[in-house]
Each structure stands twice: as C-alpha cells, then as structure tokens.
C-alpha cells in the first residue's frame, strides 16, 4: 500500500443514502480473480441512467451508511481504480470502512451538515496527519483510529506488521488456543 497524507482536489457528489455494494460493483464483476481493473464497472447500472454525473475526482462526497451490504473488497477496489482517493460521508458500513483502510482509500466521517457544505464547496483538501479537512474557507477536524491513521500515513504492510508479533501468536497458540475443531481431520 502506498502511503497517503494530503489529498486535494475537486469533489464528486453522490447525494444518496445507504448506497450498497451491489450498486458500487454489481455481482457479475466479482468473478475476476485479479485485484485491478474494476474502475470501469463502478456504479455499472446507475451510470447508465440519465443525469448521472460522477467524474473521477480525488474526493467523493456522499450520504450516510455508504458501502452497506456485502464484504466485497471489490467495492473499494473499484472506487480507487476509478480515481477516488478519499470518500467523505456522515457514516459508513463497518466492513466497507475497514476494507477502504486496507487499500489506502481514505474514509472520512463528517456530520451530515458538513458533508452537504462540502458538496456545495466542490473542492477540498484532506490532511490525514492533521486529521483536518478544509473547504469553502472552513477547516474541520475529523476522527480516525490512531493506529489506522498511522498505517495509512506510513503505507504499512499489515501482514508484515503482524508477522513481527509472531512470538506473541506462538505464545497464544501454545498456552491459550482453544482445542478443536480440526478441519483437516474431518
């Protein structure tokens, strides 16, 4: 994962609540065995509707409970591949939020009124290290888990970090691991 810090640019607006992962990337595109190339299928059905306008700007501003539904990481892959680097919404579905942070797509949670103001401003600057977003002459703080922010800022390989705790995992397995079930002996 590449490190991220400042994301600045125009804001694309998707003013809908409860946007689900089936809309972000419909199931027929989940059959690929690669991680790349999903951007062209983003919002595949909605993009065909009249009046659809969602340019690939660095920032996407949208409604509450964004990314509800499935655990498909294909949804953040598609958004990132399309060109978005940060998504700003009043709330996110849990698994989607976590998936974004794993690939360096920054989810920013702001109160609903501030997201509306951001949509009107049309341009913003997100500073992860400072946990600030600036638009329309305003500067707002946003909350993010400190460990998650650190991983994003440093572009850390999560698995590498955890393998560094291999002794702790070994100790857990030696002393506290529950017995069974053993899937290999079924």
């Amino acid at each position: 994962m590449d490190p991220i810090n400042v994301i600045e640019g125009a804001v694309s607006v998707l003013g809908r609540n409860d946007v689900d992962t089936d809309q972000i990337i419909p199931k027929q595109f989940l059959k690929r065995v690669e991680r790349t190339g999903f951007g062209e299928f983003l919002f595949y059905d909605w993009a065909k509707q009249p009046g659809w306008d969602l340019p690939p700007n660095p920032i996407l501003a949208t409604g509450r409970n964004f990314g509800s539904g499935s655990s498909r990481e294909h949804a953040p892959w598609a958004l990132e591949d399309y060109g978005f680097k940060a998504i700003v919404a009043p709330s996110f579905a849990d698994i989607f939020y976590s998936n974004c942070t794993k690939i360096g797509l920054l989810p920013v949670t702001l109160p609903e009124g501030d997201v509306k103001a951001l949509m009107e401003a049309g341009h913003a600057r997100v500073d992860l290290a400072e946990q600030e977003i600036a638009f329309g002459g305003r500067q707002l703080r946003f909350e993010i888990d400190q460990e998650t922010a650190r991983r994003l800022l440093e572009g850390l390989d999560d698995i590498g970090v955890t393998l560094g705790q291999g002794d702790a995992i070994d100790a857990y397995e030696a002393g506290r691991e529950r017995s069974g079930p053993v899937t290999t002996s079924l």
Binding site: V33, S70, D158
Partner: protein, 453 residues
C-alpha cells in the same frame, strides 16, 4: 466486573492489544483468489490449514453439475477451479462442487459442527454473522483481511461497541424468526447497528430453533451490525452434539458462556415479540419493510421515492395485492432443513400458481439429501417447484439463477437491493412460510389467516 458474552469471547482471543486470534476461517471462491495470489507473490504460507475450511458456493450452478469443468460460465468456472488449485497448493481442506458436504459456507459450518460456542469465526462474506447463533463471535471480512488471517491466523481489530436487543412476549402463530429480524431492522434501521456487535436475548430468542437463531444472526448485517450473537443453551448443545467435528464430550464452559447480570452495553433496545406480524419488504433496502396486512407506505424522502419507482409500486397498495412472477426459497438466511420443512408444510398437496415460477435451493448437499430422505423434494416437485442443488443461487445471481428485468420475486434471502437477484429484478424479502403461500396464491397472503387456498 460483570461481562457480556461478547466481552468474554473477545478477551479469550486477544493475542495482544488490537490483535485477535481467529479459531476458524471459512473460505469461498469469490473473495479469496486475490488473497491466495498475494500470499504466493510474498512467499507466505497458510499458518493454520487445520483451522481453515473452504467450499464453493457463490458461483456454482444448481443444475446438479458435479465437477468444476461442467460449469458453463467461463469466469465462474475459472473462479471455482482457482479455489480448488489454491486449496491444494496451500493444504486447505475444501468441499467443492460435487462433494456431498458442499454447500453455502454459512450452512455447512454449523452442519459439520465446526461452528461451536465461544469461537472466533471469520469469512470473506458479510453473512458470517450467522455463526453467532451458536454463541460465537463471527463476522465478515474483506479480501485483504482474508489474506491476513491466512498468513497469521489473527486479525487487527478494534473492539466494537456492544448492543443488546431484548425481546419479551411471544411470537404469534405464523410469525417466524425471519419476521422477527425483518421487523427489528425496520425498527432500528439499516445502519442502526453500525459499529456494534449485537446480542439477541430474551425468552422469544431462547424459544427459537437453531435454524431460527441462525436466520436472526444472519441478518444482523442488514441492520448494520458487525456481528450478532445468541448465548448457547441446551438447544445449541443438542444441535451440535454428534456432528462430524463436534467434541466427544461437550465442554462444561459452553454452559457458562452468557452475559453476566449488569454487564455494560453501549446501546439497549427492547422489543415486544407479541406485537410482530409476518413481514414483507416493499423497497430496496431491508429496512423498507411492512406487515403483510399493511400497505406500501407513503414515501418519506427521496430514497423512498427512488425505491418505489424501482419497485414499480404505488403508496397505499395493500401488500397482499402485490402479484409475483417468481418465488425463491433458499440462501444462507433460510435454506436449512427446518426452513424447508416449514415451507413444505404449507405447500403439501397444493399447486404453485400458474402465473409464476418457483424454486427451492437447499443450502447444502447434506440438507438436500436430508430433505429427499424425508420426501420434501416430492412435496415441492409435485406442487410445481423446481428442486435444485446447493448454492447461493438466486440470492445474488452470480450463477445462472437470476431474475429477468422487471420480474417480481418473493424471496427468503436477505437483500432486496436494486438488481440484487438479477438486473432490473424486484425482490420482496419474506419468511419461508410466507414465500410458500405466495407461490401457491400468486400474490402475498397473510399466513396467519390463510385457509390453505
């Protein structure tokens, strides 16, 4: 300090702060290929194949094909073959297409007895919450986390908040676990559970069968919850005993896995189960739901208006007047033997309406075999239902089972999102009994006063 069931399982699995040990990792063909590929590229191995189990479910045709080479859709075939190859290379046990143990991952885990109280269970699928019915902490993860668990048998996790939904009273005749969870989602909203692990408690929950409890925990994710849980009891123990992976003697600590009096919950919700009716969704989120004796509501905001337009429904239409083209009984929500028995009881000796097509997709090959041993397949077949082989099927339509544009379906699955069951298709979520009765009548009927047609 008093602890919740969730606290106890969490603490028993903390390797270090923010690092959670995973007892069971379930794997399927859609969300794993990129994870295995990255392991290969990094030269990493699967740390604990003996705590990992794979099956093919999302893509498999339900036409009775027995090997991956028979899958006609090229991309689906490649995905299933890729899973088989990855499992072979990394030593992960797999029940692929053709295996008598193959089936929907959230059906086969409990059925084989690998899902047990007190465990942490993850899978690259949001409906992993199903396994919480056994008093396990079970939740869905994305592909990066699948790779992380394969490599380390742990997950980097912050402890979510805790919610308890306590039910009182008694479910009325014809009101099922599915109706309980649909009405709960209608009440708390589709993001009501975001950031929370939800414990379902109270006498109406304790009276549910394991199948019913799995239905409830399964749809936790539709209410935004990270995981759903129900404390294990005699019903749980009796269900697990004797299964392939069950322990020879049931551990005493299973009985102690319950929330202490006075344990802290960040959010508490109370629901009187006796007030609940059979439910039917009318819109494009699972929270857009109404009692069967109600009507399609007036839109409250732009989202509702869009949903009504997509669903081609007018406010004020009686739910029972909605006519259907298809009926789907299946999915990880409602495809277990108990679900099929309930539906078959409604169908027995009757005929599917001439205006629609109806199908039953058992959740696993073992469920299918059990249903056939009980003659349920004959009940469904002679009524005009299509009787299929196991898989996710028309819950999400990755295989050939899909709705055509404009078709309207009563479905026992979990999501009614736009296009979920096929592009342009319209989904109404209901219980197996309600789906069965709707199949016979061609429109929704209130199962509570349905006289058998």
């Amino acid at each position: 300090m008093p602890k919740s069931l969730f606290d106890k399982i969490w603490e028993a699995h903390e390797v270090a702060e923010g690092l959670l040990y995973i007892d069971l990792h379930l794997v399927h063909e859609v969300t794993s290929p990129q994870a295995f590929e990255s392991l290969r590229l990094e030269g990493r191995t699967v740390r604990r194949p003996d705590r990992t189990l794979a099956t093919a479910d999302h893509n498999v045709p339900t036409d009775g094909s027995t090997v991956a080479t028979q899958i006609k859709d090229r991309l689906s075939r490649v995905q299933v073959e890729t899973l088989e190859g990855n499992c072979e290379q990394f030593g992960v046990p797999i029940y692929s297409i053709g295996s008598e143990r193959q089936g929907i991952v959230h059906v086969i885990g409990p059925e084989l007895g690998v899902t047990q109280p007190g465990m942490t269970i993850v899978c690259g699928d949001s409906h992993t919450s199903t396994h919480g019915a056994f008093g396990a902490l079970a939740f869905g993860i994305g592909t990066s986390e699948v790779e992380h668990v394969l490599a380390t048998q742990t997950l980097q996790q912050r402890k979510p908040k805790a919610m308890r939904i306590s039910y009182t009273g008694e479910l009325g005749y014809g009101v099922t676990a599915k109706d309980l969870i649909l009405s709960t989602i209608g009440r708390i909203g589709v993001s009501g559970g975001v950031g929370h692990v939800i414990e379902y408690a109270g006498p109406p929950i304790e009276r549910l069968s394991m199948e019913g409890r799995m239905t409830v925990c399964n749809m936790t994710i539709e209410g935004g919850g990270r995981a759903g849980m129900i404390a294990p009891d005699d019903t749980t123990v009796e269900w697990v005993e004797g299964r392939a992976a069950a322990p020879e003697a049931i551990p005493g600590e299973w009985r102690e896995l319950r929330t202490d009096d006075g344990a802290h919950f960040d959010t508490e919700v109370a629901i009187d189960a006796s007030e609940l009716s059979p439910q039917v969704t009318w819109g494009t989120t699972p929270g857009m739901v109404a009692p069967v004796d109600g009507e399609v509501p007036q839109p409250d905001g732009e989202g509702d208006e869009r949903a009504l337009e997509y669903m081609d429904l007018s406010p004020g239409t009686a739910i029972e007047e909605i006519e259907l083209d298809r009926v789907f009984i299946g999915s990880c929500t409602n495809s277990r033997i108990g679900d099929l028995r309930e539906a078959a009881e409604v169908v027995d000796g009757r005929r599917v309406s001439e205006r629609l097509e109806a199908m039953v997709v058992p959740g696993s090959q073992q469920v299918k075999a059990q249903a056939e041993a009980e003659g349920l397949d004959e009940v469904f077949r002679s009524a005009g239902f299509d009787w299929r082989s196991a898989g996710c099927s028309m819950c999400l339509g990755m295989n050939p089972d899909t709705l055509a544009p404009g078709e309207r379906c009563a479905s026992t699955s979990n999501r009614n999102f736009e296009g979920r069951q096929g592009r342009g298709g319209r989904t109404h979520l209901v219980s197996p009994r309600m789906a069965a009765a709707a199949a016979l009548e061609g429109h929704f009927v209130d199962i509570r006063d349905w006289d058998g047609g």
